[in-house]
């Protein structure tokens, strides 16, 4: 008797777990690959689920990783929509036909930079936010070390900052790739590469993720982190002693983008999500939550009062079309790998 009871209870337990694992059947589904901060991703996931009842399956990975995942799955796509991440990988994905064409109904309300992104991608992508590049430093550490505050890109190459700077590896991070492209556009081809080599001597670690440098800076593990300015401001808002700097020579910017994956299993749902994400109330919700301080691309949405004001920042005329090209990107990355990253320091 006891044995039968044991067997029965084990069988019941197994059955329940199986059901638990598999009951994602009937309701509408959406698989989202999210490349912004995880707390923003979760906010979006929960808001969309609450509003529409659609079950959202979300994974968060940096834009480079997500691009690789979409490419690996291209013969059998598992994702539906790719939200966030800098614009360059989205452009490359569009060129490689990994994403689908869709023009949102909010298109005409978007910032020119966001609309340009869509045009450059043949409408396979669209801009959802704009953020300026820059860097941030830990003011307590700076005071303790008695160093002057850096104000420009050129300041960062000064030998006094040796081993104090962190930036991501451009191979895996959109932030770092944007930095590389920005430097080349500000200083020109030759001086630009010289700059990267000089900067390399001051770098203590090339991190994997683009926002890791400024986070380490916030925690006091590092002095200067190259990042997007909104990431720096976010650390300050959290109560960490970070000062964000907009370099005096001018700086580049990113147009965070969103794309629908070609061959998505839930195409209609993806389009619904696309329009929902670009709508003014949702953009306002995301960008005034304090978790994401970029400037929203929908002009009818509101930005956070603490967000970096783009009108006061000296933005260069970043050529997205050229630097988003797959061949340009591959060329720059291999040159960086060969000429810059191998220099001993």
């Amino acid at each position: 008797m006891k044995n039968i009871m044991k067997l029965a209870s084990i069988a019941l337990v197994l059955l329940f777990t199986l059901f638990g694992l598999t009951n994602k059947a009937s309701a509408a589904k959406l698989t989202m690959y999210c490349s912004v901060e995880i707390d923003v991703c979760e906010m979006l996931e929960q808001a969309y689920e609450k509003e529409t009842g659609t079950k959202v399956a979300m994974t968060r990975a940096s834009s480079g990783e997500t691009f690789a995942k979409i490419k690996a799955e291209s013969t059998n796509p598992k994702g539906d929509v790719w939200f966030g991440g800098t614009g360059d990988p989205h452009l490359t994905a569009a060129q490689e036909n990994l994403t689908a064409v869709y023009k949102s109904k909010h298109f005409n309300d978007l910032l020119p930079a966001a609309q340009n992104q869509a045009v450059n991608a043949n409408y396979k992508s669209v801009g959802i936010y704009v953020g300026a590049l820059g860097f941030g430093y830990n003011k307590e550490l700076l005071a303790k070390k008695g160093l002057p505050a850096p104000k420009s890109w050129m300041d960062l190459t000064k030998p006094i900052y040796k081993g104090e700077i962190q930036i991501a590896n451009p191979n895996s991070s959109g932030t770092a790739y944007t930095t590389l492209a920005t430097i080349l556009q500000i200083f020109g081809e030759e001086k630009g590469w010289d700059y990267m080599k000089a900067l390399h001597l001051n770098v203590n670690t090339y991190t994997k993720s683009g926002s890791a440098p400024i986070k380490a800076t916030g925690r006091g593990e590092n002095l200067i982190g190259i990042c997007f300015q909104h990431d720096g401001v976010k650390q300050t808002k959290k109560g960490l002693p970070v000062v964000t700097v907009s370099p005096t020579e001018g700086t580049g910017y990113e147009v965070g983008s969103m794309s629908i994956i070609a061959g998505a299993r839930n195409m209609e749902e993806a389009k619904k999500f696309y329009d929902w994400a670009l709508s003014p109330p949702i953009q306002t919700m995301v960008f005034t939550s304090g978790k994401s301080l970029q400037v929203p691309s929908n002009t009818k949405a509101q930005a956070d009062p603490d967000a970096p004001d783009l009108s006061t920042i000296n933005l260069i005329d970043y050529n997205f079309k050229v630097y988003g090209e797959k061949s340009t990107r591959a060329g720059l990355l291999s040159k960086w790998d060969a000429d810059v990253s191998t220099i001993p320091r």
């Binding site: 989202m32 691009f67 203590n204 925690r219 593990e221």
Partner: protein, 732 residues
């Protein structure tokens, strides 16, 4: 016998005629297809052939139903076995031929295109196909056993056959697929030039760091790290073991628990704790600066930090191996040497240590293998000290998606580990190091020489204390606002991770951000623990109690997956199972399978160690009473194996809960595991959440382990419990 055959034919018929042939979008076990049946989506073979034009499936009916003709034959008729054997073989081979030739876009090989013209596409195998395939496997093994193989024992031949097929599909096939990817050219075809340029890369083999400031190749970094870790973990493990077994220290139980705690620790936690303590703004670093004016530096980022973290993580494994060895040294030998007037130090040096040598070598090699397979610590603390496991990860997951490079690096890592594994097998295969000889050996161990004793106390106690502090901090860290900045007490991290809300009309909502991955990880760990233990113990039974040709190869094959590093398994699974015929990526099943085959060797070793203690006369007694081998296995052997079953369940569960390197490639949107949650949190600087999550994991694991021991129960032997000996003897 007839009943069994008819039963299997029914299963095959069900698979062929009723269950959906292809994988549905809802998951393997979902019953959605019954509820919302449609011929086009969920059809079995006949609808697929006639509605969806998959003509190539029809010939499978012949080998499947042909054995119905044997119903009139006697089993001793040679024709009987021939029919089964050949139907099975033909069916099985044709099944895989069509599976591999026709993929998601039609023909996979152009040669068939030219012969047969265009053909429709097909997806991966679903429940129907799997059932049919199982029936073919049964036919093959039944045919073989009817021919007299292994005394005509159906159960044994069937078990061996199924295990061989499973291991080949889920261990050898992915490795093979990865091997072929290594040779892929940039254009898509296969060329050797891409391979040679990537493998002869300076990034892998360069020795520049020896004579200049440049970095060394990945290979040398990995081997250096492995050797260092192996040394330190073995020495510390030996010190711990000697303390517990040979001294009269008063707090042995505490030390024992502390030394084993790192085994149930989730990934990254140790690295995180080290950063919090010893990082540039870490607690210890700030203290040193305040007290002794030592400037904090980033010394932990790089080889020193990785070495430190790995030693912390792998000393328990060395300890578990060595405690068994230390305890089994025969006291009679030591007493004999004492009667010959040897001093304590001479006894220790000339008798005790040499008798422990095999165990020490074993611990060293296991430490080396574990270090090479380690992924979490190099990721968190490595900065730019690149090792093979992280490089494989970045080759796949970084923006430079380079399959070939990943495959090549995986091959190199696998080769290193196999060489080391082989050396271990060669060195140790001839010596036995499992305790319990059964012969009276009542002697008393001599005390350790004084100097050694103090040496041990001075290494072990600080280390144990540091472990204690680290874990205290881990528990404590979940309750502070922000570590390093604001130490006010708060429950907000627990709330954010594990909150449960009550919403009207919808009942309980699991709103905490951690629930999703937490429940998935737990469920998958439990689900995979059961087949792991089952297959492991079954394999152990086959290996210890039966002799058959190719037994050594069989044993090596089943143990191989233990040697393969997690990254290699993860990568090879991604390559092998993303496209038909076996389409598993993005499902929960691929995670379960990865865990089962990764951890199966633990069950095998536990089972073998336990079964070596059981008298074979018990089986024979049961056979003379006319019990079949499956009855013997179920009624005699299994109840006596309870400790081994517990051990393998516990180990599989714990290893599944704390796995990273394999799993990080296999997580998907629907099946997010603990590791991605923790990693995401770490990257976002949310240390509080990461710590909270890890503490919860540790508590849940402890609780489940206790529950497992309760459910399985203790075996009733009528004499003193031997379970301790088995748990210790089965590692390695």
């Amino acid at each position: 016998m007839r009943g069994l055959v008819i039963c299997w034919m029914l299963i095959g018929g069900l698979g062929f005629l009723i269950f959906p042939w292809y994988v549905t979008g809802d998951g393997f076990f979902s019953i959605n297809w019954i509820l919302e049946y449609s011929l086009a989506d969920y059809g079995s073979v006949l609808p697929q052939v006639f509605t969806n034009k998959k003509y190539w499936l029809l010939p499978l009916a012949i080998p499947l139903f042909f054995p119905l003709t044997t119903l009139k034959l006697n089993q001793n008729n040679p024709l009987y076995s021939k029919i089964f054997l050949y139907s099975g073989l033909i069916g099985f081979f044709y099944f895989f031929l069509q599976g591999f030739s026709i993929g998601i876009r039609g023909w996979n090989f152009e040669i068939f295109q030219s012969i047969f013209g265009d053909v429709d596409n097909q997806f991966g195998v679903g429940s129907g196909a799997v059932l049919t395939c199982c029936t073919f496997i049964f036919y093959i093994t039944h045919g073989l056993s009817s021919r007299g193989w292994l005394n005509g024992d159906n159960f044994i031949v069937g078990s061996i056959g199924s295990i061989i097929i499973l291991v080949s599909t889920f261990v050898f096939f992915p490795i093979f697929r990865m091997f072929t990817i290594a040779f892929k050219g940039t254009g898509g075809g296969y060329e050797i030039s891409n391979f040679s340029s990537k493998i002869l890369n300076k990034g892998i083999w360069g020795l520049d760091c020896v004579y200049s400031d440049y970095a060394c190749g990945v290979f040398w970094n990995t081997v250096t790290m492995g050797t260092l870790t192996a040394f330190s973990s073995t020495i510390l493990g030996l010190a711990f073991a000697l303390l517990i077994a040979r001294t009269s220290f008063k707090f042995k139980k505490t030390i024992r628990i502390l030394s084993v705690l790192p085994i149930i620790t989730p990934p990254f936690v140790i690295g995180l704790a080290i950063i919090i303590l010893f990082g540039r703004s870490g607690a210890v670093s700030t203290f040193l600066e305040w007290g002794f004016d030592i400037e904090p530096s980033r010394w932990i980022y790089g080889l020193p930090g990785i070495w430190f973290a790995q030693t912390l993580a792998f000393t328990p494994i060395a300890f578990l191996i060595l405690i068994g060895v230390v305890e089994s040294v025969s006291p009679s030998m030591e007493e004999a040497s004492q009667t010959l007037r040897a001093s304590k130090w001479q006894v220790f040096k000339t008798v005790t240590l040499p008798l422990m040598r095999p165990g020490i070598a074993n611990a060293f090699l296991i430490g080396f293998i574990e270090s090479l397979a380690d992924f979490g610590n190099p990721l968190v603390l490595g900065a730019e000290y690149d090792v093979l496991s992280t490089e494989i990860f970045f080759a796949i997951v970084g923006a430079q998606y380079d399959e070939t490079k990943a495959a090549i690096l995986a091959m190199i890592l696998l080769s290193v580990v196999l060489v080391v594994f082989y050396l271990q097998n060669q060195w140790l295969g001839k010596k036995s190091y499992i305790s319990i000889s059964g012969k009276g050996d009542s002697g008393v161990h001599p005390e350790l020489p004084k100097k050694t004793k103090w040496l041990i106390y001075s290494t072990v106690l600080p280390w144990a204390f540091m472990t204690f502090v680290i874990y205290l901090m881990i528990m404590f860290g979940g309750f502070v606002e922000m570590w390093g900045v604001d130490h006010s007490f708060t429950l907000k991290h627990y709330i954010e991770a594990f909150s449960i809300d009550w919403v009207k009309d919808r009942g309980f909502l699991w709103t905490g951000t951690a629930w999703n991955s937490f429940s998935t990880t737990f469920t998958i760990a439990i689900i995979s623990a059961l087949p792991t233990a089952a297959i492991g113990i079954l394999t152990a039974y086959l290996l210890t109690r039966h002799k058959f040709k190719g037994k050594n190869a069989f044993e090596f094959g089943t143990m191989l997956s233990f040697a393969i590093p997690g990254s290699v398994i993860g990568v090879s699974y991604v390559f092998a199972f993303n496209v038909p015929p076996i389409e598993l990526t993005g499902t929960g099943i691929i995670l379960v399978i990865a865990f089962v085959f990764r951890n199966m060797p633990v069950g095998v070793r536990a089972g073998m160690a336990a079964m070596n203690q059981l008298d074979p006369h018990l089986d024979e007694a049961s056979s003379t009473l006319n019990a079949s081998s499956s009855q013997t296995f179920r009624n005699i052997i299994l109840p006596l194996l309870k400790p081994a079953i517990t051990a393998s369940l516990v180990f599989s569960f714990v290893r599944a809960m704390t796995a990273i390197s394999a799993v990080i490639f296999l997580v998907s949107a629907n099946y997010d595991l603990a590791v991605s949650y923790i990693l995401g949190r770490l990257e976002n600087n949310d240390f509080g959440l990461a710590i909270v999550y890890s503490s919860a994991l540790i508590v849940v694991m402890l609780f489940t382990i206790l529950l497992m021991q309760l459910i399985i129960g203790k075996r009733k032997l009528g004499r003193r419990d031997q379970s301790a000996g088995i748990l210790q003897g089965n590692i390695g």
